[in-house]
Symmetry: C2
Subunit: 152 residues, 2 copies
């Protein structure tokens, strides 16, 4: 199995970071503006991505598999790109001094393909967006995300 | 073995991207300003990192193990953080339309540790810096790199 794992530190209280990854409003502030559904264990969140001119270019459904306040958020992808289905994303949080540390994982990819490498880079961009949202009040969710290659 | 693999696309001719990853001047423009040594197969490149106030905070030596013009650059780390020694970095390049695509890999980490996750995120930041250097003429090499956590 192939795993993408990034470490980010956000200079903010743990609760603010937890809110940003565990609520629809929070996720819409750093990943994609078009985030809907219900962030409760067993329920589904839907994220849709659009191009600058408004065309939908992709979407994913994820089941919320864990919500441990101030500690961990877990998702399992149930619809979207074929390579994503069955993979899991987790945000493990801990306080270290002035920082809330996130260990973000997107695990259990079947194969290391070029799309995995694209997503690894793109998750880095969205972690930076999450950091900016919490530290500065404004992230760069899709469609205003930093583009990193010819795929997005 | 644990691998970090990122895909980046740079809107520039392949030769410009190759120059940025295969010459001392190029590397100093996106990774760290304090890059020295000789970029020739069998020779060693030294990269040193400094804090904003000039203190050295880390360094690595890498042996250049491959230089295939317009195609691939390979390094093997021979000194630096204990976890890095013996790991290998590669830049695989190919043209796709207006883009030069880089598959960047930092492979053969012994274990998935928190430092691996930090480096995965940090490599994303440096790939972004490389993209900015080639596309806009100015990267963000250390010590002006984007800080992503309490480690750097």
């Amino acid at each position: 199995m192939v795993n993408i794992i990034h470490r980010v530190g956000i200079k903010a209280p743990l609760q603010e970071v937890y809110d940003a990854v565990s609520t629809i409003e929070g996720i819409a502030g750093w990943w994609t503006e078009d985030t809907s559904g219900t962030s409760q264990v067993g329920k589904t969140i839907v994220v849709r991505f659009h191009s600058a001119d408004g065309k939908e270019i992709g979407s994913m459904n994820m089941e919320v598999t864990g919500l441990e306040p101030g500690k961990k958020v877990s998702w399992k992808f149930t619809a979207g790109p074929e390579e994503w289905i069955g993979t899991e994303a987790t945000f493990d949080l801990q306080q270290e001094g002035d920082y809330t540390i996130i260990i973000f994982g997107h695990r259990n990819w079947r194969d290391q393909v070029e799309f995995t490498a694209h997503c690894s880079m793109k998750w880095g961009i969205f972690m930076l967006s999450l950091k900016e949202l919490v530290e500065k009040g404004k992230g760069r969710p899709s469609p205003n995300d930093i583009k990193i290659d010819n795929w997005n």
